[in-house]
Symmetry: C2
Subunit: 338 residues, 2 copies
DNA sequence: ACGCCTCATGGAATCGATTACATCGAGACG
DNA sequence: CGTCTCGATGTAATCGATTCCATGAGGCGT
């Protein structure tokens, strides 16, 4: 592959001049510029990003470590992150942690070794020494969706508190009184936070949240299924189940269906994270929608600001309740979807 | 950040020795090795992958350019690719083309500039000069799922012909006679191939495929909706619709629902690409499942072989029909899917 | 006409690794 | 006991860019 030296030779100038042309340095004559550009054209020259990165100590690359690529919420997030990054001239390397702390650390380490300019992380667990060290070491880091307490970096996330309040009110209005939740891992902030918000909302209606009504999940479909099975085996099973993410809702759907329950009638189901398929399930699933695209964009902009030496603030955007039929038939506006 | 020189100083040896220890070169004394390792530990040294890549001319990185990250089929593919690559010591950089040839070329160019060791592509269009040039230029390339005729590189894909034959037979047995297809872009191989297989299967049952029954889609949900609307506006609408990918099936589902049709009774629906949600739609959707995981693994192994100087063959794996209820009620084994 | 300033340009150092080659010492062997 | 071989180690070149510094050529003010 042609290098900068070949271009210099072809154009009859020095490598310094070629580099100046390529980097739009003002001090280059029109004639030289033209000759260099012509040489670049005929040789099909492309600068070696590796060499450039070594010299300039920046890769124009962002790392994004997400908890689970198979989760539509995260792929949508990844997509918006890539888009926003591209607009700013960055590439994105995605690492998929599959909800496994070891894999997460593997990716963080690899990304750091590659000298990415900044890191976007949605941590799978509550405390990674590696990440702490990286943050202290000065690597620009921004947390998205979830975060790790004690690591002082900007956090970009959605606040589901209000929407969870709306959801509980909705369920209460439909006559549901025995509300259960399938929680995410306690080690994740979204895992514990959603339970707390749910508990607080219940309290607002004078309802308690017994331990038996808190299922332990891991944000994967299978765990949603297991937790639901356990609920149904209870002497007094819940009459509404709220899954803290869309995959666990899928698992819950599996389990409820397997037990022959009519969702929306015999039992209510709702989920955190809205995804396109919820419109088409049987019945359509009531969900809490996050502004995923904006989350991704805000995270990238915060990270870019951090890289440029700024001190961007944390960002919290509101989530909102989208009512469908999985909690009962009297949805206020049944034709609002689709 | 500490460099190899710092480690050398700390350990009291030369940089060459440090490098030899790190690369497991045999000619290093036990004493030196121990001192180097200790120095690496105390300094928390990590080799700079950028510098290493520049020198060795290999990045241990694979590029993966897929047509659409929001499509569950491709994210599953991406996941298996990353997994297989990681097992081989490679990282993967994913580029999302969003079915846009210009974006695809942007990613290919960026990846090439970064000197990735090899490229995995599922092309969005039928002819990219850039990709042709790269292939000729000696960049190891493997096509997955789709390919570009005329570019002589290994292709790893699933053959849906037999499964489409099964699907048509299934529909025919259920009394469906007016079968329509929502095709992908003619520029993609999967776009045209699936139509041809469908047409051939119809012919086997003495059925024709009128032009009006071939909807033009672009593998996105909106196009599936539009194509379906057009079918329903026909004087004699089809009684079965086959969508060439899962997103267009989602769109078709939208449209059929909006027209108040009972899917499985009034009209049949089937899709290429099986995804977890199809079990939970109303009704569950009959689909053709690809061995996505194996596809990803095979593609990575072919690419790795190519990088190592081998000449791996193309791979074609069979797809299979998964019958659910969207084509009619007499599914042969109604409880096979939970 | 002379010196000074600016602009265009080239030479060479540099980034952080890997690795060819040189060197040195020790053990083997005649 | 000299020489030959081999293992351990260091010095320096190298990868392909960017960029500091020196140099030379004009342009301009006085």
């Amino acid at each position: 592959m042609a290098g900068i030296k070949d271009v210099a030779a072809e154009a009859g100038v020095s490598v310094a001049t070629v580099s100046r042309v390529l980097n739009a340095h003002p001090s280059v004559s029109e004639a030289a510029r033209a000759r260099v550009l012509a040489a670049v054209e005929t040789l099909g020259y492309r600068p070696n990003a590796v060499a450039r990165s070594l010299r300039t100590d920046q890769t124009r690359t962002l790392g994004l470590v997400i908890s689970d690529v198979l989760n539509p919420y995260f792929t949508e997030l990844a997509r918006s992150v890539e888009e926003a990054a591209r607009a700013l001239g960055y590439s994105v390397i995605i690492g998929n942690a599959d909800e496994r702390p070891d894999l997460q650390d593997h990716h963080v380490r690899t990304l750091l070794d590659r000298r990415i300019d900044g890191l976007l992380v949605s941590p799978t667990d509550g405390g990674s020494p590696l990440m702490l060290e990286a943050a202290r070491g000065g690597t620009p880091i921004v947390f998205v969706d979830r975060w790790i307490p004690g690591i002082d970096v900007p956090v970009v996330r959605a606040d589901g508190r209000a929407a969870i309040g709306d959801l509980v009110a909705h369920l209460y209005a439909l006559g549901r009184r025995r509300l259960a939740i399938i929680a995410g891992p306690a080690a994740t902030t979204t895992g514990s936070e959603r339970v707390e918000a749910f508990r607080a909302a219940l309290a607002g209606h004078g309802l308690a949240l017994p331990d038996a009504y808190v299922g332990q999940g891991d944000f994967q479909a299978a765990s949603g299924r297991r937790a639901t099975e356990r609920f149904l085996a209870l002497p007094e099973p819940p009459d509404a189940v709220f899954a803290a993410d869309n995959l666990m809702a899928l698992g819950a759907l599996d389990a409820l269906r397997a037990h022959g329950l009519r969702i929306g009638a015999d039992i209510a189901l709702a989920a955190f994270d809205d995804i396109p398929w919820f419109v088409h399930t049987d019945p359509p699933v009531t969900a809490i929608a996050q502004p995923t695209g904006e989350l991704g964009r805000a995270a990238v902009h915060a990270l870019a600001a951090l890289i440029d030496g700024g001190t961007p603030p944390s960002v919290t955007l509101p989530a909102r309740l989208v009512v469908r039929r999985s909690c009962g038939e009297d949805a206020p506006n049944p034709r609002s979807e689709q």
